[in-house]
Structure formats: C-alpha cells, structure tokens
C-alpha cells in the first residue's frame, strides 16, 4: 500500500524536531485545559455559545459585511475589498505607492501568509519586515511557519543562534534571552524608520467597526505607535455582531491559544489616532479579503469559517504532534488546516486532497475547539468530495475495496457469497499453503461460518 504524504513527512522528520513539536504542543494543550476549567465554571457552555455566534455571523455575512463597511467608514477608515490574494497584495502596494512609502513593518497575520504579502512586496522594491519574533526568524531563515500561534515550534535555539550570527545580529549565542534582546534592539530601529504598519485583526465588531488585535510581544502596538499609516488585512469571516460579544471571545481566544486569561496586549482600534495623541497612524485602511472564503461558504463545510486561529486543535492532534506543521504543505496546519487548506485551494483541491485523510477521526480537535467546529464531520465530507472528484491523492493509502464494493452493492451476489462462505467450514486448514496461517490455525479453532442465518431468521420471524 502506498504511503500517504503526511506519513512520509513524519518519518523524515528529525528526531529533535519531532520531540520539540510533540512537547510544545502537549504542554500547550495541558495548560489550556487547566486554565479554562480552573477559571470558568462552565467552559464548555462558552465554546458552544461562541460557535453559535460565529455560525450566525457566517450565515449572515451578506448583512454584516455592508454593516461593518459603513461602521469603518464612519470611523474615518478607508475600506478596500480584495476578492483574491493578488488583489489584496496590490491594494497594499498601491496604498504604499500613493504615500511614496518604501518601508513597512508587519505584525503577524495569517491572511498575509495566505497572500504571501512579504514576498510580493519585496519583489516590488518595498522593504517588508516581520516583527513577531517567531515570524522574524522564519523570515530570515527563508522558512515557513509550522504552527498558527508558535511559528517556530520546529526550530531549536541553536539553529536560531546560527541564523542570527549569519544575519549580522551578533556573535553566536543560543541563550533565548540574548536572542530576544538582540531582536528587540534590531527591530525597534526598523519600526521607527518605517512609514506603514501592517496588522491583521482577530475580531472586528460589525456594530462599532472596532478592530481587535492581540499580541504578547507588543509588536503590533509598536507598529501602531511608530508608523504614520495603518493597514489591516482582514478575512471577511472575522466579524462579530456586537461589541459585547468581544467579552466572550477574548475570554476564549487567549486561553485556547496560549493558556492566558488575556494576551499581554489587546488593542481596540477604530480609526486613525486622536488629534491630541503625538504617536500613531494618521491614516488607516482596512482590506477585506475573500481569497477563497466565499467558496468555503458555498460548500458543505462552512462551519470551518468560525475558526478564530487559536491553534488548540493543532496542540491536541496526535497526527500534528507526529508530523509537524510543514507536513500539511499549506498556510494552515493541523486539523483546521486539513479542512481549510484544501477548501481555500479552490481548483487546486486535488493537490491537498490527502489532508482530510490525515486523521484517525478521534474527535479531540472538536472537543477543544473554542468555537465548537465539528472538524471530524468536515473531514468526512471532504473525504467524500475527494472521492467524488476522483482526486488521486484522496485514494492513496486506501485499501483496495473494489471487489468488496461490487459484492456489497449487488444483493444476489451478496447472498450467494454468504452461502458460499459455508464452504470455508470444510476447508482442510491443516493443508493451508501459508506456513504462518497454518501455525496460527494449529493453536486455534476457527468459529464455524454462519453466513446468511440472520437473514433467514429475519425473513421467517413471527410478524406481529
């Protein structure tokens, strides 16, 4: 039987990387559980509720999108719409060009990973710098993040120290504190020299147009304290109906992502800076990005659009823990990625059609999900899609079931086979041609084949 790609990734993974990913994700999961249940009397009720609210948003985007657009504009924000990744990147570039800006500092945003914004801007002569420590390391390593919340979970301190040395950030030193201080010093100069700061948004209230941006390092705050123009790239599914819903979602997000009650910085941005404030953007843009989301909305897997990108399903997943994030060959790894990535791929679905199969359907991802996404159900729907569309990757690793399917779908053949099975009772097992089977049989007695008896009973049972 052919090996699935994800199994091959797991096999090829270096032992220390595997150990780092396994320990990191396991710790993350255990901490989350204790924080949620120690603090909150009915944590489970919260995630069901949050799931219902997000499902409502997803199914009413036709109302909420125009509503949020109006709210943002009323706050003095320029709103842009981007149907594709290219359009989103172009929107950023044209804002930069209109300002004559050549330098941008960037906080962590998953949607900009989807559009490969940094790469695009660099190609167009814009200096684009990642400021989240993990993302910065990924950028100088020309690597890809392997976890939604902990992008360099797959790297150890020695690799990072070597990278810093190669990039002129001091002599080799693998002390995590030294690494962090050097990044602090290097990046603050960059913030202060940049003209534009780019962020994502964790939530956007359709009621007030408030964007909520959370970080622990303070990098997005530095972007919004040092630069003169703020661009936020926001997936169209990030909306929440009311400001008060933020109270629920903020309580769930940090606990699920990093087992914190709140992240260190939770920033509510509803427009350019106040007139009296000396620091911060005088101009603010929001780019509402589709990039495949409306296709997901159209599918029978729209529940995945509830996702708030906390990474809890990665941490708990036995497959992710063995294979690490790069095995998913896309921006979103883990269980959420196994659903979202093939869907966002659109016409390139066949290239990722094996991902929905990279699961034992154990259901742990659903149990931890702060918005209660039924991930195992969605994986099954995508397996069916792969089969329907005859994607070759969807069949890799499946046992050959053709003969069985033929038999099971034809009642006459099935009945004949059941009856024919009785012949097995007369097989001279001592003469089996396979030694292993013969040895097995020598110590055991096969139960007698009783195929067809249930059917006979069913047919002849006394009917009331």
């Amino acid at each position: 039987m052919a090996t699935q790609r994800i199994d091959q990734f797991a096999k090829d993974l270096r032992a220390d990387t595997k150990a780092a990913v396994y320990d990191g994700s396991k710790k993350g999961h255990e901490k989350r559980t204790s924080v949620l249940f120690d603090h909150l009397p009915d944590a489970n009720r919260l995630r069901v509720l949050a799931g219902e609210i997000k499902q409502h948003v997803v199914e009413n985007l036709d109302t909420y999108l125009p509503q949020v657009e109006a709210a943002l504009q009323a706050n003095g924000v320029k709103v842009h719409w981007a149907a594709t990744a290219e359009a989103a990147n172009e929107a950023v570039l044209s804002i930069m060009r209109a300002r004559g800006a050549t330098k941008i500092v960037k906080a962590k945003t998953m949607v900009s990973e989807e559009t490969e914004l940094a790469h695009f801007l660099e190609k167009n002569g814009v200096e684009c710098l990642e400021t989240d420590l993990g993302e910065f390391i990924v950028q100088i390593a020309h690597d890809h993040p392997s976890h939604i919340v902990k992008p360099i979970i797959h790297k150890n301190r020695r690799e990072i120290a070597t990278l810093f040395e190669q990039n002129g950030l001091g002599a080799y030193n693998d002390d995590p504190e030294t690494i962090t201080r050097r990044a602090r010093q290097h990046l603050r100069g960059k913030y202060l020299a940049a003209d534009v700061g780019l962020t994502g948004a964790n939530f956007v209230s359709a009621e007030s147009g408030r964007l909520v941006i959370v970080t622990n390092e303070g990098n997005s705050r530095f972007c919004l304290a040092a630069t003169k123009c703020h661009i936020a790239m926001v997936g169209i599914e990030k909306l929440l109906p009311r400001d008060r819903d933020l109270g629920l979602f903020l309580n769930l997000l940090a606990r699920s992502a990093t087992a914190q009650q709140l992240t260190v910085y939770t920033e509510f941005v509803s427009g350019p800076k106040a007139a009296a404030q000396p620091d911060g953007p005088e101009e603010m843009h929001v780019i509402l990005v589709d990039n495949g989301r409306t296709t997901v909305l159209e599918s029978d897997c729209r529940e995945i659009l509830r996702c708030i990108r906390c990474g809890a399903c990665l941490n708990v997943c036995p497959v992710y823990r063995q294979a690490s994030g790069h095995a998913y060959r896309s921006v979103y790894p883990g269980p959420v990625g196994a659903v979202l990535s093939p869907l966002l791929a659109g016409e390139r679905f066949p290239e990722l059609a094996d991902l929905p199969k990279a699961s034992s359907l154990c259901g742990a991802c659903n149990e931890v999900c702060p918005v209660n996404i039924p991930i195992p159900d969605l994986l099954l729907r995508l397996r069916a899609k792969g089969k329907r569309e005859k994607a070759p990757l969807a069949a890799v690793g499946s046992p050959p079931m053709g003969a069985w399917a033929l038999l099971a779908s034809q009642p006459t053949a099935w009945k004949a086979a059941l009856f024919g099975g009785k012949l097995m009772n007369y097989l001279p097992t001592k003469l089996l041609p396979i030694p292993a089977l013969r040895a097995w049989e020598a110590k055991r007695t096969l139960p007698a084949w009783r195929g067809g008896e249930f059917r006979a009973w069913l047919k002849n049972r006394p009917k009331k």
Partner: protein, 204 residues
C-alpha cells in the same frame, strides 16, 4: 476596488441563498465568562494587585516605593506625562533625570516611562490605556519600565464590564503584564518589544 466589492458580496449572497434558514444570534449572560475569583462582592484593588502579580507585573501604592524600585534597577533616566509630573516630582531625588517630552529620535535614552491609565480590570490584572488619556503611545511602550498611574475609582471588576465601558476613543489598549514571548523553545522571556517591567501605581 468597487468591482471586488460587488464580486465578493454577490458570491456571499449566492452561497447563502440555498440555506433554508440562517442560524440565529444567541444572547448570553455576562456572568458566564466572569472567573470564579471575581464573583460576588469584590474589593477591586486587592484582586487587581493579586492578578497583576500573577502575570509578573508590579502593583504599587506609594510614589516612594516607585522611586525605590527604579533606583534598585538603576533606571534613573525617564519620561513622565507632564500632567502627572508636578504630583510625582517631590518624591524623586535629584539623581533622576525626568523629561516631560518623549523624543522618538532617542527612544533608548528613556529607561522608564510614566503615563496615565484610564482604567483597569481586576480579574485579569489589566491596565487600560487610551489615546485621550495616554500622553504618548511610544512613551508607554518603548522604555524598559512602564509605570501606569491609576485611580481606584477607575478599576472595574471583569472583562464584560470593561468591554461595556470601552470609551469612544480611536485606540484603547489593554495591557496585562510585561511584554513577553515563548517563541524560542517555549521558554518565557519578558521584554520583547515592549516593557520588561510593568508597574501599576495607585494614586488617589
């Protein structure tokens, strides 16, 4: 971009058209998300102080304690909000150099920044800073030590209350402890881009 707007909205509408009914918006009680420790009659400052210590922040109730902390750390050059400085200055010895204008061309000269907090959340140990109340976003972020000056009356108990009290200010930021990361091997390091020491000074 108006064409992209129409494309997206028409895709959304056609994707949702076949749904027999749309999921309803549930209502929910704020009580559900309030942590056990913050329920009932709560004395806000002690709870706030305990939770702030829990995230490695430093709660103080006297200017003299602040001076001691800064001296101990060797942080003698800093910034102070010009509105606050007249109140604090008498407690600071002449060995300190405190400026009331934050010069962004020499951010690293400032070892501490003292600004006002417009509120706080007791159950999380969180300080609330706004554009209207904070004399400089950078002054509250770039120095190694940030001191937020707080009034007892401005502390609310829980997150839902704090959300309900969000002011009409273009920028509100909740700060819960010093800036931190665990990106390198999951090891906690404080003081990444923001302060490594976060102080809340209660001044009534």
């Amino acid at each position: 971009m108006s064409t992209d707007r129409e494309t997206i909205l028409s895709h959304v509408r056609s994707a949702l058209a076949p749904l027999p009914q749309r999921a309803a918006l549930p209502d929910w009680e704020a009580e559900l998300v309030i942590m056990r420790q913050a329920r009932g009659n709560v004395d806000t400052w002690p709870l706030f102080a305990e939770r702030l210590r829990g995230v490695n922040g430093t709660p103080l109730t006297a200017v003299a304690d602040l001076v001691t902390l800064l001296e101990k750390g060797g942080w003698r050059h800093g910034y102070c909000d010009p509105v606050l400085w007249p109140k604090l200055a008498p407690a600071f010895p002449a060995t300190f150099k405190v400026e009331t204008v934050f010069d962004r061309t020499r951010v690293d000269d400032f070892q501490f920044g003292i600004t006002r907090a417009t509120g706080a959340i007791a159950e999380t140990g969180t300080l609330v800073l706004t554009d209207a109340g904070t004399s400089g976003r950078l002054a509250a972020l770039a120095p190694w030590v940030h001191v937020a000056v707080l009034s007892r009356a401005d502390i609310c108990v829980d997150v839902p209350q704090a959300v309900a009290a969000l002011p009409r200010d273009p920028n509100v930021i909740w700060v819960t402890g010093p800036s931190k990361t665990a990106d390198v091997e999951g090891i906690l390091i404080e003081g990444v881009h923001g302060p490594g020491v976060q102080v809340a000074l209660l001044l009534d």
